[in-house]
């Protein structure tokens, strides 16, 4: 796929400026400072920060310190013991499982959704119209309600307690929103570009990869990030479709840690920090891309 995306891109109309910041509007109230808004903004910041602070501070305390010190104060003697304990308890394996499931579902989901979005936007058959409506319906249905038949199917297919059991339904559940966002972006690619490629004798397959994909790359990134977050943090499928430590993913491991170390709150919170850290690193590195992608995806 990498080589395909490097094929020459037809010059012209810039893609939707999702990855680059839009020219900002003069929001209401440029003329004088917005005291009320500022107050509310800082208040919400406190609400967001306090739990995060508490978790980090507590994760650095030892058991004795946890029971005796003030919960909101940093530990007198910070310790990394809790982190060591969590890492020794197969944290790396759970991390790897999460990674396999996330990559294994997001890439196929992107691929099939992109192809479907292209067909829906460019095609005109009743079949495609019907397909699109089915996906839109999927957005309105709480698909969690289907876990019981999915559980039955997965057990009957002898896939219970495998990573594939998590990957397959995750792909399906990612499709409606992915097709919606991708097709909304694709409608903005000027028709003339497709026409001129068609005149040059391009097949739909070639147009899809050489024109539609480069032009909608910001949307592809958006959809990829959105789905990756959803799958990485998913809890219900792992809870129902897996069982053994061999197939445990990170969110589920937090829950089991909580059971195993119920008396050791600092260790449980260290696990929370460790499970969040990888995403935080990604956020720090790719924040702009991530946020502008998500914003553009949903404000369309």
């Amino acid at each position: 796929m990498a080589s395909l995306t490097q094929l020459p891109v037809p010059p012209s109309a810039p893609a939707r400026p999702a990855a680059s910041p839009r020219p900002r509007t003069k929001g209401p109230g440029r003329t004088r400072p917005n005291f009320l808004g500022g107050l509310g903004g800082w208040l919400w910041l406190a609400i967001i920060i306090v739990p995060v602070y508490y978790v980090v501070v507590t994760s650095l305390k030892n058991q004795a310190g946890f029971f005796t010190s003030n919960p909101m104060m940093p530990p007198a003697e910070p310790t990394l013991e809790n982190y060591k304990l969590v890492l020794e308890n197969d944290f790396a394996k759970y991390f790897a499982n999460s990674l396999i499931v996330t990559v294994g579902s997001v890439i196929p989901a992107l691929l099939v959704s992109f192809m479907a979005a292209y067909a829906i936007v460019r095609g005109k058959s009743r079949f495609l119209n019907w397909t699109n409506n089915l996906f839109l319906l999927g957005l309105a249905i709480p698909l969690h309600a289907t876990i019981i038949p999915i559980y039955w199917m997965i057990t009957r297919a002898h896939m219970y307690d495998t990573l594939l059991a998590l990957i397959l339904p995750s792909i399906a559940f990612a499709i409606p929103i992915s097709v919606l966002i991708l097709s909304n972006f694709m409608r903005d690619v000027p028709n003339e570009l497709f026409e001129s490629m068609r005149l040059d004798g391009c097949s739909d397959w070639a147009m899809m990869w050489r024109l539609a994909l480069p032009m909608t790359r910001p949307a592809v990134v958006t959809v990829g990030i959105y789905n990756a977050l959803g799958v990485w943090n998913g809890f219900l499928f792992p809870l129902i479709l897996t069982q053994s430590p061999e197939t445990r993913v990170l969110p589920l491991s937090l829950w089991t840690f909580q059971g195993e170390f119920s008396v050791n709150i600092p260790a449980v919170l260290a696990a929370v920090v460790l499970a969040t850290l990888p995403l935080l690193v990604v956020y720090v590195i790719a924040r702009r891309q991530l946020l502008s992608g998500l914003t553009a995806g949903f404000s369309k």
Partner: protein, 300 residues
């Protein structure tokens, strides 16, 4: 446009083959639509999750519909949906408007606002469980007796704790949607309003709010339908307790199916969940006056 009804072969007119949509459709049919039909079928059977599935007429439905816990779960779901909408919608709208303006300090605040987007529901639930502990949490830390209550053990308080934690986790996501929406409002509208001497509040009600109509519908739909999927958070935070105080419908379905081993009754609950989700989504679209697809396009 099409007169060649339902043909999946390449039509004569230019346009891609419907086969491009086939992989996405296949995944979606297999893991979403067939299970959707399956859950309806299973609601007329009895099954313990391991043994045979036996047709059992309406007995699961009678069980579910006469069980007072079902009514309670519906009530809890409605309450959580209502209160979390009332809390989240205004906060995320105001924060979205606030952060859409481009000052440096607002951008810096926004970096931290969006951190909860990265956390899994399991992590959020575990963090708040520790934070709300009357002896070792926030209340004890700040020395405020009011905060040192048994938040999760009091069946009157716990619902509002759940609403608060849901808001903590999901407001950032909706803030992002609103931020994107506000940034698409043409600056000229505000300039014109300023020339006319409209103040900040007038601008908000006469420009920002009407222009955000479709963003509001998108966000509200996601918020309301999404509240049928708060399963993970509540499962880890309270397990549905104390008593049945936070046992909302999806959780009730899970516990009935996978803990009480009554898959028939759980399937009936799943069907109810689907019907409610669909009804709510349709209702919200009606309020918006357009179908989702059109609204997305017009909102752009």
């Amino acid at each position: 446009m099409s007169t060649t009804s339902g043909s999946s072969r390449r039509p004569l007119q230019p346009g891609p083959s419907g086969w491009l949509a086939a992989p996405a459709l296949a995944f979606f049919l297999l893991f979403a639509i067939i299970p959707l039909i399956g859950v309806l079928f299973l609601s007329f059977t009895s099954w313990d999750g391991l043994g045979e599935i036996k047709l059992d007429g309406l007995s699961s439905w009678t069980t579910v519909l006469t069980d007072p816990v079902t009514g309670n779960a519906l009530l809890v779901t409605a309450k959580i949906m209502f209160f979390s909408f009332i809390v989240q919608a205004p906060i995320s709208l105001l924060l979205g408007v606030f952060t859409a303006a481009g000052q440096k300090y607002r951008a810096a605040l926004a970096v931290l606002y969006f951190v909860p987007l990265l956390l899994s529901s399991a992590a959020v639930a575990i963090a708040f469980k520790a934070l709300l502990d009357p002896n070792f949490g926030l209340g004890a830390g700040l020395g405020l007796p009011f905060l040192a209550q048994d938040w999760l053990g009091d069946s009157d308080l716990v619902l509002f704790v759940v609403v608060f934690v849901i808001a903590w986790q999901f407001v950032p996501f909706h803030t992002l949607i609103y931020q994107g929406g506000v940034r698409q409002i043409p600056a000229s509208l505000y300039e014109a309003a300023q020339i006319d001497g409209a103040g900040r509040v007038q601008q908000f009600f006469n420009i920002t709010l009407p222009q955000l109509k479709y963003t509001i519908i998108t966000s509200s739909t996601l918020m309301v339908v999404g509240s049928l999927a708060y399963f993970d958070l509540v499962f880890v935070l309270t397990g549905g307790g104390p008593g049945y105080a936070t046992r909302l419908l999806p959780l009730h379905m899970y516990l009935t199916g996978f803990k009480a081993n009554d898959m028939g009754a759980a399937s009936a609950l799943g069907v109810i969940l689907v019907v409610i989700g669909l009804a709510l989504a349709l209702l919200l679209q009606r309020l918006g006056g357009k179908n989702r697809n059109a609204s997305q396009l017009e909102g752009a």
